[in-house]
Each structure stands twice: as C-alpha cells, then as structure tokens.
Symmetry: C2
C-alpha cells in the first residue's frame, strides 16, 4: 500500500523571532493561520488516507505536531531524539513501514516549501507511485521543473524517458548547487531539474540499497523498527549523512542494484526560508504591505508587519520595505533587503539577551 512520510525536522532561525531553536519553520502558522506542515499533510491526504500519513520530526516538537495534525495516529509520529540528517529521517520510517507492510510504497516528502498548484503536485506524486510500483529497482526522485537559474538548489541531469509514463526519465547524475553561469546553462538546456529532496520508493527497494551502501545504518534502523523502546539508545548511534550523499548519488553512479528515476514536478516551488520570501507568498494590501495581527500602518508601503501577540498593537509609520515582527518575548525590526541575513541578528540577540531569546 501507499504511504506518505512528511519530514518536519530541523529548526531554524532564518525567520527569527517567529522560528526559534524550539520551533521548526514547518510548524509556524505562517500562511493564513495554517502551517507548512498542515499544508503538506493536506496535499498528502489527496493521495493516501490520513491513517497512512507519517510525520518524522524532532522529539521536542511531537506535542506541537500532534496539536497541528490531530488526524495523525500516535504510531505514525516518529520523534527523533537527536538530529541525524536526512538519511535517517528516511531510513527509520522505511524500516518501520516495511515491518508493518512488506509491500509498502513510500512517498518521502518535505514540508519546507509552498507548492502551487496542488493538483500538479498530486498528479506527479501519482506518477511517481506508479513508477515505483512498476519497477522494483526504482528510487524515484521528484524533480522540480526550473523556473529560474537558481543557484541555491542542487540539480539533477535527466537521461532517457521511461516508456509508459508522462514525465519519468532516468537520472544521469546529481549536481551540486551551481554558480550563476552554470545555472543559466542548465536552465537553457532543459535537461536539468531542481533536486526537490522528495522521493518515492518501495520500502524493500530502499532498504536493499541501504543494506548495500550503509549496512550499519540498515542494521540499526531494522533493530529500531523491531524494538521501538530502544529509540534513545539506537538513534544517536546512526551515522549522520544525507540521503542524497548516502544513497541517491551512489545509486545513480551504479554503486548498488537500484536505479534512480526522476518524475517531473511542474509546480511553483517557493521556499519560505526568510522574510523576503515570506512576504512574496503572502497577500499584500493596496499599499504593498503584508500585515498580520493587531497593527496600525500609516504612510507605509511595501512593509511586512507580523504581530503574534493579541493584546499588543504594532504601529508602523512612514516606512518603506521594512520587516517588523513582534512576538511575546522578541521583536525584530529590519529591512526586507537585509532580512535574509537574520543569522547575525540572532547571534547578537543571544549575546545581548541570552540564548533563551533565540
């Protein structure tokens, strides 16, 4: 049967003070009161029933995930006691689902981006499931069709089309984030897709590759699936590496029995990694201001103003292109142009006010 595993791990400060060391971005109710995680869950349930949606997150965020997604059953919430990178956020649910259902086919999805239109996403996912079900060697990777020469993503170089599928094709190789010239050439060639970090495969196929390429991890996640009470003991011993580096790239180079297949994801794929990109995905008013919460703007244009505190008003006047974010214990005032470099701000806050504020 088909399953969806949503990865909602990590924690970031690029949306500080909204996102915090204790709050992954995917759990923030950024989009009209809805979290990116909830949007990912709603996309997933277009393809599989809610009881076959799993979430992998950090153990500290389990309560918040439960609150955000009450439909997800307790046994489908996997809380990592420590972060061990994406390979293990993929391998652990694969081992768990293989024990429950030897024929499990898994879509391993991220929740970091806004995805529109959802119909195109759903169609691509259906195609990817069909490829994985028809080919027990296939590790399917979803490739976002580029809309710009983006230098912030990895790319995959497409090969031959697969007969019988609208977009599926082999993958010649994975490419690291390119420089601007290379990204331009990739875009012009039409042969490169963005590596979305979303995958579909049979659990058994993935675990076979894992056994061949990362045998210690294979043994550990198999033990963990059999004896879930040993989570705290086993998980920290897992080797920290990415699924691309540990599995996808070696398999694409013929290092194991599987093969990598790409399916096209013809979507508008928007990262909301910072306030400038958040401002782009939210709806602006007639003056270009994006506003949320109790606010009063006068003579203000093209600002992003977010206030998460009910009994507090944020007044902004005479400014253009500013970011003002007010939360119960921290306020950020910066420019939209500079908002992507919030890291130095967070470091300064930790210095001035202590780590509890970051």
């Amino acid at each position: 049967m088909r399953y969806v595993v949503i990865m909602a791990g990590g924690s970031g400060t690029r949306l500080w003070p909204l996102s915090r060391r204790g709050t992954p971005k995917q759990l923030l109710k950024l989009i009209g009161g809805t979290s990116l995680l909830r949007l990912a869950f709603e996309r997933a349930t277009r393809v599989v029933p809610a009881e076959r949606v799993l979430v992998v997150t950090g153990a500290p965020y389990l309560d918040a995930v439960r609150e955000d997604l009450p439909e997800v059953a307790p046994q489908n919430l996997l809380g990592e006691p420590v972060g061990r990178d994406s390979l293990n956020a993929v391998a652990w649910p694969a081992a768990v689902l293989a024990r429950r259902d030897p024929d499990a086919v898994i879509a391993q999805l991220t929740a970091d981006q806004l995805i529109e239109p959802v119909d195109a996403f759903v169609a691509a996912l259906e195609e990817a499931f069909a490829v994985a079900e028809s080919d027990d060697r296939a590790l399917v990777t979803l490739g976002v069709v580029p809309t710009s020469p983006h230098t912030g993503y990895g790319y995959l170089h497409r090969g031959e089309p697969l007969a019988g599928f609208p977009s599926a094709c082999t993958v010649r190789e994975f490419r690291e984030k390119p420089d601007a010239d290379t990204a331009g050439a990739y875009l012009a060639s039409g042969e490169y897709w963005w590596n979305a970090g979303m995958f579909v495969w049979r659990a058994s196929t993935f675990l076979d590759q894992l056994a061949a390429l990362e045998p210690a991890t294979h043994a550990a996640v198999s033990e963990l699936a059999a004896e879930p009470d040993r989570l705290e003991e086993i998980f920290p011993t897992l080797r920290k590496t990415s699924v691309d580096f540990g599995i996808m790239e070696p398999v694409s180079r013929g290092a194991a029995t599987g093969r990598v297949v790409a399916v096209a994801l013809p979507i508008d794929w928007r990262d909301v990694g910072g306030f400038a990109s958040l401002a782009e995905v939210l709806t602006a008013d007639a003056d270009g201001n994006v506003v949320d919460g109790l606010t009063a703007l006068t003579d203000a244009r093209d600002n992003l103003v977010i206030n998460t505190v009910d009994a507090h008003v944020v007044a902004v006047s005479g400014t253009t292109g500013m970011v003002v974010v007010h939360t119960p214990d921290a306020t950020l005032v910066t420019t939209l142009a500079g908002a992507e470099s919030v890291k130095s701000v967070v470091a300064a806050v930790a210095d001035a006010a202590g780590p509890d504020f970051t």
Copy 2:
C-alpha cells in the same frame, strides 16, 4: 518665604507609546531612568527646601507623582480633577500658599524641558526671587535667551533694565509665535527672549492682579483654598484660560496695578516633545544609536531604540534613522524624520486597536 510650584499637567501622545493618555510626559523616566518631573524637583531644591516644593498635576497622576517624588508632602500635591489650563494651575497654588504664608513668594515652574546648565537656571531663579521680593508690583517672567530663530515659541520684547539686577528688565509686550522672518529679526535684534511660561511673584501680588482681571476665578480659588474638600465641586467651574492670556498680557498692557518684569534665563532649553528631540538629548553610542532597555543592534546607525519591557528583546538590524519604541502593550516603528507627527499614528492605533492603546 520662597516656594516652588512645579506644573506637571497635561498628557500627550507625541511620545506615544511611551506617553499615553494616562501618562504625562513629565512622569516618563526618559533621561537615564529619571523623569523630567524629578529633574525639575531637583532643580527646585537647589533654591528652596523640599518641604516648600509643590506639584500641580492631574488627579489621575497623583499616585505616579507620589512614587516619583516621595519627598513631596501630601499637602503639597495638588491634583486637578479636570484640566482647566495654565491660569488655574497657577491661581490655585497661589491661593493655597497665600493662606499658609501671607508673605509667600512663588516660582511657578514647568517640567517640560531639559535645562542645562542647572547652575545658570538656579542663578536666574535667585535673581527672579530677589526682584519679586524687592518689588511688590512685579510679576516676573523668565525669558530664555534665544539660541535660534525658533518659530515654535512665544517671545517677549524686553524694555528698560531694572537698576540693581544683572539681567532684569521691563517687558514691552508679549508676542505670539512668529513666522520665520520675524523670528530671524527677533534673534538679530537681541531684544527678544523666548517666553518660557515660568514665573516668579509674591502670592499676594499675583492674587491682586487676578482679582482685578479674573474676579470669578479669584473668588473660586480663594474658596477652594479655604475649603479644600470642595475641590470636585469648585474646580470644574473655573474658566479655562492661560496665564499669559488671562494675566501676563493684560498686565503688560497696563490693565492692572502690577507690572511685568523679565529675568534672563541663559540656558540650553530643550523641549523633548517628540522622539527626534528626545534622541538629541540622550547619549548616542559610537554608531549614533540611542538605545535603552534590552536591545540588540546589528549594522544599524543613528536609530532611537527604546524598550521598556524587561523580559523582551528588541532586535534592530540594517536600519538608519529609525525610531523603535516597545512597551508592554504597544510598539512603534517609524522614522526619526517622521517621528514628530505621531498624532496620525495614534489616531490610526485608536481606530485599529481601540482607545485603550493610546
């Protein structure tokens, strides 16, 4: 004996959200944790002992004044049940002190401005007391020696010097706030001083003029001084007018038995009526930022950042010339250039969030 009456009335929103409908500017601890009222009290006690300092304020602010000035005895705190403009903030304490001490000589001082150097202020006040004590017709007004062709103040046109005093002179007339050309001519002539709204007189002299020019007010404040329990009944019946319009100008035109004398106040007289002027009087760091409270600034220049909330951090990054003021229930973000027009902001806040926030 000599007395000082400090006026700490009014309420303003020009420093919103620091100053509120419920908080007069003079009570804000703006200057290194010290209020303008406290600074005025400390100047006063350079001239008279604390037990001869009175404060006239609005009744709602009495608790805050008591807290700020614990040295002031209860009988020396006069709380106006309603605002009745400056004539009554002058006439009421004059009547009260005349009953206590028929020879009372009163310096009626404001607490709206920063005054430096204090020694020069004290010397001027001593001269003004001496003039009032030597001349039982004199209403002494303190005239700030102009340092610029300011169009925001009223002016007084000096006449003949008084023998035996270093700066005292008669006043030919009071002038309304001038236009820029007129202000320039005033400054160039050397004959005009700013009308500081601070006065020194014998209580009896002042009350005689009041009886002649505003007999109803004279009768009412005399009754009130005799029967303080009738405050709520009597005070609202007082005619609302300014001391300049009701007394000083008519007397300067010969309308009563007194005469107006000016004494020079050779001080740096700084209004802190808005954030731009507040920023000027506070000490900036090496980057030109004026900062108070728990804050973290990065790549920021010439900003004014005030945070009055202890368990909250305000981070400002990448900005120049901004005003950021954070209080428990309201935050203001604006430009220093635009900060003098906070009124429209406050109106917008009242619309968006309700009058409790203003």
